[in-house]
Symmetry: C2
Subunit: 340 residues, 2 copies
DNA sequence: CTGTTAGCGCGTTCAT
DNA sequence: ATGAACGCGCTAACAG
């Protein structure tokens, strides 16, 4: 390399001088001169070369289901900030929770020798994840748990969030509460559904299978379809706990379709507190998840696994119920849905 | 490599067989056997190794100001889809339109030998960009033009968008129209301001410097501050054209602060048509920009530059005015702001 | 403290 | 059509 020639030393010395970890092993003045020359020549280490030698690319792969869900950009931002401190960069890819696309992306990332994976895709059974684990690739999952629990995870306290939401609705006087659950093959979908049923039990409310419907995806359209389904079943309800905010928006759309005022006749609670949730009409009551921190902690955990081979662990982050305009006391008996 | 041993051939042959471009130069049966063995062994080419040899990492760097602005995830998605077809991946980084952070990110990406850059950061003067260009790195800028016009760009037809917005307001009867412009050091800020003034001239409306205020950033908070500023100046207006949707939301916040109903007393128009714009309260009238296509075309252009050294070019995408609830006829004289 | 050497995995060139 | 040898830029290990 020309930095070596310019500074009149050998490339090995340059390498040592430029690497903070090995700099101590070279004469201070020489090191200073080398650094100066490198700066003047605008030299940047070639990570491909280093990767070949060290088997570390200082790059990690991040699998994100859908950047258009405002939940994820904030997670990504947390990830970026944590990684940058360690000189790492993330290769970010959208998977759509599509198994095939996910496999393609993992292959592409593996081929780029990423040092580890951050996986926010929601699917629970995950053959791809399984393979990664078997090959000893460091993996941290975000906002989900994995079926086998053999990977580190950073999650929000979903049960607490649902419990808070239910307590709020019950305090308002609701008794017939429906649940538009997230997809059954996702960790969050399952956990929140269980928490919903547990809350029903806790408050002595009856479990009614007609008031629970599973969405096929975490999207607005799915939320709308589910709510129509709920209507078709003809069982009255005065509140809906949605699996996440996008589903909640879909629920509200379906209510509007049927000219059912929210929150006057039906209350709706979301989950995540995505950006803009408070600007929606009506402003969404929802459970806030510390998304930035979720990403940041996830990245920290992954770096730990890469460098210190730390044992696997799960970090649970606290949530907060944000009470806004989409919840209110139920209508008086006789004025509600289906003559309730 | 073990694939070679397993298949009983030399590594060179394996390399040729696995690379679609050179596969023709190897016996078809042998190639098939090698591919089969590689698949069975779960072999993936090491891009770092290839990069070292070919000086191509099949990775590009994408500089995004702020993923939390819903405009960008959709652009990113377009980028990803285009790149994937070519076996490319994007290293995505947020810059906050912060010059220092931008430089750090560019250095990190350069050090990873990215084959080119996609730059959606908005700042117009851009020393970092200048250096990239001088070093012959392929660059495509998105949703902005560059000061020196020496780089390819994909932009929306901003002048047309502003013209449509103004035509809409004038048709409604507005005469005193304010502009909360984007930052003066951004391409979009300048272009939209010019288009605003051109429209004023076209309709024989007076240019009033008191009705134009420049935001310091494309954020909701900046939009609110600017609108307060507008109020303090005491000049009446019945409509605001905002530099983008986030600014428009800020304008609406400021109106709410002052209990000025939108659109009854002041109409507001945004720009970009971000996700959820139609769900805001009031639903935002805004100019839709084909964001996905913007990203996709940008990536295509960049790949062209990388592989075919194409000359620089600018692609302009058409826009559409989305008329929703935030615009209406101006209040009758005597009922408006400041006794207008 | 610094120079030397080797090899990471790949593609290319030359030889066969 | 295939094998052998080399070098891309870097760092680890060893020698001095």
């Amino acid at each position: 390399m020309d930095v070596a020639r310019e500074a009149g030393v050998h490339v090995g010395t340059v390498s040592r001088a430029l690497n903070p970890a090995t700099r101590s092993r070279v004469n201070a003045e020489t090191a200073a001169r080398i650094i100066e020359v490198a700066r003047r020549l605008g030299y940047e280490v070639n990570i491909a070369g280093r990767a070949l030698r060290t088997q570390r690319t200082q790059t990690i792969g991040a699998l994100i289901p859908d950047l258009a869900n405002p939940l994820f950009p904030r997670i990504v931002r947390g990830v970026e900030d944590s990684l940058e401190k360690a000189g790492y960069t993330a290769l970010i890819t959208s998977t759509d929770n599509n198994a095939q696309r996910e496999r393609r992306m993992i292959a592409a990332l593996l081929s780029r020798q990423v040092d580890g994976f951050l996986i926010a895709s929601a699917r629970l059974e995950d053959q791809a994840l399984e393979e990664l684990l078997q090959n000893g690739v460091p993996v941290v999952v975000l906002n989900r748990t994995s079926a086998n629990a053999r990977t580190s995870a950073v999650i929000a306290d979903d049960p607490q969030g649902i419990a808070d939401a239910m307590a709020h609705l019950v305090a308002l006087g609701h008794e017939r509460i429906a649940h538009v659950a997230g997809p059954g093959d996702t960790s969050t979908g399952q956990v929140r559904l269980q928490a919903f049923e547990a809350a029903l039990d806790r408050y002595g409310l009856q479990r009614r299978s007609e008031l629970v419907v599973c969405a096929e995806a975490y999207t607005i359209a799915a939320g709308t379809r589910c709510t129509r389904d709920l209507f078709n079943r003809g069982k009255p309800f005065t509140a809906v706990v949605a699996g996440n905010d996008l589903l909640a928006l879909g629920v509200i759309d379906a209510l509007k379709e049927n000219r059912i005022p929210c929150p006057e006749r039906v209350s709706v609670v979301g989950f995540n507190d995505i950006d803009f949730a408070e600007r929606m009409s009506p402003a969404l009551t929802t459970v806030r998840v510390p998304t930035y921190e979720l990403g940041a902690r996830g990245a920290d955990l992954l770096l730990d696994m890469i460098y210190r081979e730390r044992e696997i662990s799960t970090v649970t982050l606290p949530v907060t119920l944000m009470i806004r305009e989409s919840t209110a006391p139920p209508p008086l008996p006789g004025t509600g849905l289906f003559g309730l």
